[in-house]
Amino acid sequence: MAFQDNSGDIIFDVVLTDEGRRRLARGDGSFNIVKFALGDDEINYGLYDTTAATQDQDIEILQTPVFEAFTNNTSVMSSMLMSIPRNNLLYLPILKVNEIADGSSTEFHSKNVFHVAVDGNTENNNGVSGGDGIAFDSAGKIQTGFMLGFSTQKSSNYLRIDAGIDNSAVPPATNIADLFLDETQYSLEIDNRLGSIISKDGTTRLSPASVDDDNIALYVVSTETDPDFVFVNTVTDSGTGNGQVIEGARSTYLEFRIASSIDLRQSNFLFNRLGAELSDLTSQDGVSTPDYRYIDTLVKVTGLNTGYSVDLPIRFIKLK
């Protein structure tokens, strides 16, 4: 995409996204614009100079060239503007991956990804000791940074995202709701061809609110409707550690797992199309490093109140 001409009057270039066109073509009334949001994807607020004279503070930001509109619905609005009733806030909440919440259960693998074993063979050689299963170690313990995508009823590692103000200037004992900064609902976006979102204990399987033209499934969870996914963080201990990654006032946290799709379990097509092969993980026999196929993807978690989002690197793996 090119930059827009910014030499004259301000131009406002509006296009339908691919998902918008798809819904329009469906003709079933699903193309219905009911709300708007503002984005600032191109802006680097690091260029804002608070030490400069007022008129010069944002001069570099205002000169930022802006791209033409992308038509891919997931390629824009990565960062959104927020409305908060108070103007005197100095700190805002963020979303932060919590890798210390539950021992090693929420910890990422040393490769900085979370693995999802897509079938029983990849998990633990279908329950047969020895063999090439790579989700468990030789002691029968699930390996750090591995998730059971097939045996969803079994206890497994999971992902946890915490929301709150990551600064001790706003102590954890502060009621974040009083600051209008409570995060009560989250959206999760995942490639629907690869997997789906389930609760930490595997008992609750979410239905996507929608699946777009690029097979990106959108799930929405909230404290009110999804008590298996969104929890209020009541810990007021100061500082991090003790399972907490948010230094200051804490809001809610999101916990979930990923179940592998039937396509990934039964076929190698998507692995061949979207992935590659490796043999760098030690199997449950503690010795061999079997060949496996993998697909790297991102799961995007967005706080729907604060608009803050994080991308979680996920690797779906399947033994050859």
């Binding site: 984005g39 824009v76 503007l81 604060t306």
Partner: protein, 373 residues
């Protein structure tokens, strides 16, 4: 509570319609000459001839219009013997096809012939016609009424390079006067008028009043993009046409081409040959097309107390807002993008500003997002 979405109320949306016009100039050299007919496509079925704006074997070529000819069942030309009348059946079929689509049927279900003034009840019928069907690429939604103009050579002796004697065919006055009794929408009457300084049209064929310098010679169907030229345009008044005998220096007929009168060409030559002869007589064609642009306008109203903060990762440093030094400083954010969403949070349309807009509590905006269909 912090929020990122703002609902649009019914007062924030409006639908409008805009008509856009493009000028379409077709010079005669494109039709005959420039590409030595490499841009002319004839088909084995011989029913019509296609004109392209570039040699049609090139992928750059665009189809611009088709030419065909036809005459009615009850035309005098239908009486010619089948042997002499080249493609007689096809020409009758084409006339009927055009007539059934453009003129429609009478109460008995019979196809009605083209009528010179649009009064289908009586009056002069156009029974021997040339049809120009313009492609949708040029016409878009419709031809703009009152914009059609075509200059054709009426030189008595066939001479493709000679545009010494011409008449101008136009839908004169169609902005205010047109017909709507066609199944395909609006149509206007085409009139021939003398080119400047010439008297090629028989004065007895000219109309009265505002039509004092105009002689009816065909029809133009605006939405269908079809021009129906009557054979009278190339026929002397003594033979039922509108041309003065002066066009051929006083002779009894004009040579439409290859030694044929227009009538002879229709009976004695193929459709593609007639189309060739016609192309050589077209000096230019021009009209304006129309695109009907339906728009939905969404007014994204941003109040002073809205959208003053950002969730941009660079907005914070250790959760502290970068654009503030102390809490009493005004928050500020910069808008580059407007997303329009469905109820299930799917991004359906996106608008980009050409430069960042500063937003702080002292500023309100109404961003007008227009979607065209």
């Amino acid at each position: 509570m912090a929020s990122t979405f703002k609902n649009l109320s019914p007062n924030d949306k409006i639908s409008t319609k805009t008509l856009l016009h493009e000028a379409i100039p077709l010079t005669g050299t494109i039709l005959s000459g420039t590409y030595t007919d490499l841009n002319i496509k004839n088909y084995s079925h011989g029913m019509f001839q296609s004109v392209y704006d570039y040699p049609y074997l090139s992928s750059s070529a665009n189809h611009i219009f088709d030419i065909t000819v036809g005459f009615a069942n009850d035309s005098a030309l239908s009486a010619s013997s089948p042997v002499a009348a080249a493609q007689q059946k096809k020409k009758i079929n084409l006339y009927n096809q055009m007539a059934q689509v453009l003129v429609g049927y009478d109460k008995t279900g019979s196809i009605q012939p083209f009528d010179e003034d649009g009064n289908l009840v009586d009056g002069t019928k156009l029974k021997e016609n040339i049809f120009l069907s313009f492609s949708r690429l040029l016409v878009k939604d419709e031809v703009k009424r009152g914009s059609f103009q075509m200059t054709v050579s009426v030189t008595g002796a066939y001479d493709p390079a000679n545009f010494g004697k011409t008449v101008v065919v136009s839908d004169f006055g169609a902005v205010n006067e047109y017909r709507i009794n066609s199944p395909v929408g609006e149509y206007g009457i085409l009139y021939a008028s003398n080119s400047s300084g010439q008297t090629n049209i028989d004065s007895t064929k000219l109309g009265a009043g505002v039509l004092a310098n105009h002689a009816a010679c065909g029809l133009i169907y605006y939405q269908a993009g079809v021009v129906v030229l009557s054979g009278s345009l190339f026929t002397l008044s003594g033979s039922g046409g509108i041309l003065s005998s002066s066009v051929d220096g006083g002779g009894s007929a004009i040579d439409f081409g290859d030694g044929f009168t227009f009538s002879d060409a229709l009976t004695g030559s193929s459709i593609s040959s007639s189309a060739n002869l016609l192309r050589a007589r077209i000096q230019n064609i021009q009209f304006n097309n129309t695109v009907e642009l339906n728009s939905s306008i969404y007014f994204c109203r941003i109040n002073h107390n809205e959208y003053n903060y950002s969730a941009n990762p660079t907005y914070l440093s250790q959760s502290q807002i970068r654009v503030k030094q102390e809490s009493s400083d005004s928050p500020v954010a910069y808008v580059t993008t407007v997303g329009l969403y469905s109820a299930d949070n799917q991004l359906l349309a996106v608008g980009k500003l050409s430069e960042p807009l500063r937003k702080d509590p002292t500023i309100e905006y109404t961003l007008r997002a227009r979607l065209d269909y």
